[in-house]
C-alpha cells in the first residue's frame, strides 16, 4: 500500500533540491570531492520527493502532510 508522509510543498522542495544537486554534480559544474558528493547526495531528496515517503520521518513518527487518523491508526 502506498504510504506518504510528506506534504506537497515538502515534496516540491525536495525534488527541486535533488535536481539542482544532481545537475551540479553530474553536469560537471562542481568537480572533485564535492562533485562526487553531489552526484550521490542529490539522489536522496530526489527519491524521497518523487515517492513522497521519507524514512527518517517514519522513524521519528513525524509527517508534514495531514494529521493521521485518530484512535491509534
Amino acid at each position: 500500500m502506498k504510504y506518504i508522509n510528506e506534504a506537497g510543498l515538502d515534496r516540491i522542495i525536495r525534488v527541486v533540491l535533488g535536481v539542482v544537486l544532481l545537475a551540479l554534480g553530474w553536469g560537471g559544474v562542481v568537480t572533485g570531492g564535492w562533485g562526487t558528493f553531489l552526484k550521490v547526495a542529490g539522489f536522496l531528496p530526489l527519491l524521497t520527493g518523487i515517492t513522497g515517503f521519507c524514512p527518517v520521518y517514519a522513524l521519528l513518527r513525524f509527517r508534514t502532510n495531514r494529521s493521521p487518523v485518530k484512535a491509534g491508526v
Partner: protein
Amino acid sequence: MNTPDLQRRDRGSPTRGSAPLPSLARFAGPTVVEVSAPHCSACRAMKPDLDQVAAAFSGEVDLVPIDAVQQPELVSELRVLGTPTLIGVKRGSEVYRITGRRSSAELEELFASLINDRPIPLAGRTGTALQVGAGVVLTGLGLVMGPAWPLVVIGVAVEVYAGSRWMKKA
C-alpha cells in the same frame, strides 16, 4: 467487540465472502469505502464531488462512508493510515486504495474502474506532475550540459517511474 456498523448509502445488503479484510468481504457488488474524519479539511473539500459522482453511479457502484473518529475499531481493522482514503472493493476483495484528495474527474475514473476493469491512476495529479517535471528537467539538463548522459538516464528513469505509477492495473 461489537460488529462494525457499516451504513450502505445506495442499495443492497452486505454479503459475506472470503477476503483478507472481513469488513470488506461483505460487499458483493462494486463498492467504494470512504474513510473520512471531521477534522480532515481535504475530506470536507472532496465530499461534494464524491457525493456527485456517487449519485451518477447510483445503482452500479455503492458508496459506504465511514467516520474514522466514530468507528476507530473498523478503521484500524481496515488498516487505514490517513484520511481521506477510498477503498475500491469488488466481489468482496480490495482492488485499490487511494489516500488523499482527488478531483471530480479522478473520482469518476475510480468509480468507473470498478465496473469496467479499466486501469486506475494511483498517483495524484500533483505527485505525477512533480515526477514528470523532474524527469523532463533532468533529461533536459543532461542534454544541455555536456551532454551529461548520467543525468539523461536519471531523468528517463524518473519519467518511467511516473508513468508506471500513473497507469497501473487495478
